[in-house]
């Protein structure tokens, strides 16, 4: 059993490197470890573990086109939008803030859905791009006094270039190696956030110097904040739906359905995967930038791998491969985290349990399952 011997030698090696690194080369130690993993995965992405991954595609069980826009969906959407516009006038500050956060995380979850639900690549490192967007706002504001909106634009650019760079390595693989590469590379970003304390504040975090105004409205009040988040959420939803119904989005879906056939009919599959990953990263950066403005604070926790896991849970819970589903997933997750946690200690067990049941019995997610039932009912 070669891998046992390898595990033994590898453990000792990494144990010693890590300890010495922490003692003598504080800042670079963690990088070395992640770099090892990345190099390994790059040299041998497919033959890893000597097991073929051919049938390991994520393939969420979604069958219909995204929002094939009919008049009834139009009506439903307008009604929902109207309700969301009226909602903040009926409630106080706290629910407004909570729903604003849901919008922002909804953007984040929908961006993951693009790469996971629609392109068929499960990423466990999406928080890195969220973090890049958020840190761009906070750090550029603190260091250069840059306006937060310019920070958001810079953050989207930074997240997109980060995703393109990371994606170049990741899209050479798929399935489980893809998952592990995104995990390792995002931990690299986490390490920077944690160790570059002078700039990022490490685990203590960094505050956003000044809340910007939004078309002259003061974002420290909950109502403008709510509408700012709502506008970006609706724009993202609308943009993603246009994308997914357009030729490019159809190509992404084609990659999820059958990558081999996509190559056989002439698509440069890696380039398309990279494009999807980059767009998803840019949107995650947007969500991160908005979150920095909303929250006024960002710390390295937001980039840790468990944060990537959280957004994966939101996406899956709501329904990977449905567009609005992940936003519902974000709503459920945040409601649990913020509302249930004030009544019960056990919000994590509840969300974990709900998620486990969802994976076991409703792999299409809550929205995907509900939509499946609705579509079957009239016939």
């Amino acid at each position: 059993m070669g891998s046992l011997r390898g595990a033994f030698a590898g453990s000792l090696l990494i144990g010693i490197c890590d300890t010495f690194g922490k003692a003598y080369f504080q800042t670079v130690a963690l990088f070395l470890i992640y770099l090892t993993m990345i190099v390994v995965l790059l040299i041998r992405p497919q033959g890893l573990f000597g097991i073929k991954y051919s049938n390991v595609a994520a393939a969420p069980a979604i069958t219909t086109r995204v929002g094939a826009v009919t008049s009834s969906t139009r009506v439903a959407e307008l009604a929902a939008l109207l309700a969301l516009v009226l909602l903040p006038f009926a409630v106080g500050d706290y629910p407004r803030a909570l729903v604003s956060e849901i919008f922002i995380y909804g953007i984040f979850a929908m961006s993951l859905d693009l790469i996971f639900g629609f392109t068929g690549l499960m990423s466990l490192g999406h928080a890195a791009f969220f973090g890049l967007g958020a840190y761009a706002v906070a750090v550029l504001g603190a260091q250069f006094g840059l306006n937060a909106w310019l920070g958001v634009i810079a953050g989207v650019g930074l997240a997109a270039s980060g995703a393109a760079l990371i994606g170049v390595f990741c899209v050479r693989t798929s399935g489980i190696p893809f998952l592990m590469l995104t995990l390792a590379l995002s931990q690299l970003v986490y390490t920077v956030a944690l160790k570059w304390r002078d700039v990022t504040g490490g685990s203590d975090g960094i505050a956003v110097a000044e809340r910007p105004s939004f078309f002259g409205l003061d974002l420290s009040r909950s109502l403008p904040m709510y509408f700012m988040a709502l506008i970006f959420f609706v724009l993202t939803y609308w943009g993603l739906r246009r994308l997914l119904n357009a030729p490019l989005g159809q190509a992404f879906i084609g990659l999820r359905e059958n990558e081999q056939r996509m190559a056989a009919i002439g698509y440069r599959t890696r380039a398309y995967k990279l494009l999807s990953f980059t767009i998803a990263g840019a949107l995650a950066g947007l969500a991160g930038g908005l979150y920095a403005i909303f929250n006024g604070f960002i710390s390295s926790d937001a980039v840790y791998w468990t944060a990537s896991g959280d957004v994966l849970i939101m996406t899956m819970l709501g329904g990977a491969g449905t567009l609005i589903g992940p936003a519902f997933g974000a709503a459920i997750f945040l409601l649990m985290k913020n509302v249930v946690s004030s009544h019960s200690e056990h919000w994590m067990a509840i969300i974990g349990g709900v998620f486990v049941c969802c994976v076991m019995f409703f792999p299409a997610g809550l929205w995907g399952t509900a939509r499946g039932i609705l579509q079957r009912a009239p016939k």
């Binding site: 246009r242 119904n245 159809q250 879906i253 996509m262 009919i265």
Partner: protein, 247 residues
Amino acid sequence: MNVLRVDRLCKSFGSLNVTDQVSLAIGEGERHVIIGPNGAGKTSLINQISGQIQPDSGLILLQDRDITGCSPDRISRMGVARTFQRNNLFQNLSVMDNLRLALQIRHGTPLNFFLPAAGSAALSERAASLLAKVHLPIEDTRLARQLSYGEQRQLELALALASEPALLLLDEPTSGMSPSETAQIIALISALPRALAILMIEHDMEVVFSIADRITVLYFGKVLATGTPQEIQTNDRVREVYLGLSR
């Protein structure tokens, strides 16, 4: 000028030589059928021509351009289309969406991220004419997986034709079909434009002799014989190792 020329192609997996010094040439508009017992290396040969497998040595020339070892998507864009032995469709997309994906790479704007894919009248027209060509209903809103097996084979063929190839590779287009479905798809293939060169793997001898201009017999990775149907029928070694087995 040959549409395709394969020169001394070799490929082995470990000690198994799946393709052993295979050479063949296909002229313009030629219908070339590859026959051979199971494990003769027929599909491996097609996979090397279409780029799914990298050959160890040898040359593959498409219209005198070297395509040896190119990626499948590049070879596809250079004018080679293929079908697969087992249906290989976008199962959860509609028939039209399947075709649009195949058509938009050459005739559409695959990088368009804003305008609806279904909105292009030109693509819809092309898709409709392809559907007519393979005898599928034009107003088909079903998903690919809702089609019957035979219809899926027809769609498989339509996807390959969508790129307007110079060379069409067909990997057992009649496999798993009933006799009537077989007759239908053979009629479809026979009715394809004569200018299109076709390299096809087929088991059914009647089909082979009704379609083929030339035949190549593969046996354990080697070319056993190549020639016109008459030459193959009268070739003693072929009768011995292959036709003898099936009769």
